[in-house]
């Protein structure tokens, strides 16, 4: 199927739209190269979005407003990094995960050596830390690290609880 040809009127609307986007980027402190990258990304996105059906000017503007690639997509990969608050949450999730794993090891150790109260204390710490890690991981789910931490915490929690149930359900 042949792609529809964009009319000069539509190209003019696109031109104004892209220029406004470039202005916005420059006002936000981006360099001209960054603005060029954004304009190229947005243009490619819109051309792909309307590759088979020509949009009306309103549809084009709406697509640009709603379908503008997120900063992740419009920023060169080398400049991508999670926002600062996400980094803090991620660090917290990672620490809680490590602490949780340590707690379960210590809990097992103390219980094995007859120090049940201490072992149980570490058991409770394990539960709290894993839940914290799971929650923080889910809050930062949009990042790869966040998903990784949440899944690891959830899996560890599930395995340990299953193990406890199995061990305690014996005759």
């Amino acid at each position: 199927m042949n792609a529809p040809r964009w009319t000069p009127e539509l190209r003019a609307v696109l031109a104004d739209l892209l220029t406004e986007q470039a202005e916005l980027r420059l006002e936000q402190g981006a360099s001209e190269e960054q603005a060029q990258h954004h304009v190229d990304t947005l243009r490619a996105h819109l051309l792909a979005r309307f590759a088979h059906t020509l949009p009306t000017p309103e549809e084009l503007l709406a697509a640009a407003a709603h379908g503008v690639p997120t900063p992740l997509a419009s920023t060169p990969p080398e400049e991508i990094g999670p926002p600062q608050h996400v980094s803090v949450v991620l660090a917290l999730a990672g620490l809680a995960l490590v602490g949780g794993v340590l707690s379960v090891v210590l809990s097992t150790y103390f219980n094995h050596h007859g120090e049940t109260p201490v072992g149980n204390g570490f058991g409770v710490a394990f539960l709290m830390l894993m839940v914290t890690s799971l929650a923080c991981g889910m809050v930062s789910w949009r990042t790869v690290l966040g998903r990784g931490v949440a899944l690891s915490a959830g899996l560890t929690l599930f395995m340990v609880l299953t193990l406890l149930v199995v061990l305690n359900s014996g005759p």
Partner: protein, 117 residues
Amino acid sequence: MTQSRNPPVWMAQMRKGVAEFAVLMVIESGEIHGYGIYEHLSHRDLLNLSEGTLYPLLARLKRQGMLHTRKAASPGAPPRHLYTLTQEGHDRLNAMRAHWVRLSRSVHALDTSETLP
């Protein structure tokens, strides 16, 4: 031999160097829309700029006070942005013209003196 789709770096740099000069010259000829500038330059050998280069350049020139924009009604479409040169834009263009003449004269003189016995 396969030819790369992108021009060599030196060629792109030379074109980038004159892009602003070319855009100001096009706008000097009369009030014009951004897409009109793109179309105008796309028919000029070696001066065709991509939209990704042209529109941010227009945005920068506007921010620098070289261009004045006016919104003109367009039937069935949002108002269009039409560009004209401000006095500062005219001054910049004239300075560029003078510089270009000196630069091309120097390059030509250098080239001629090197190739002549």
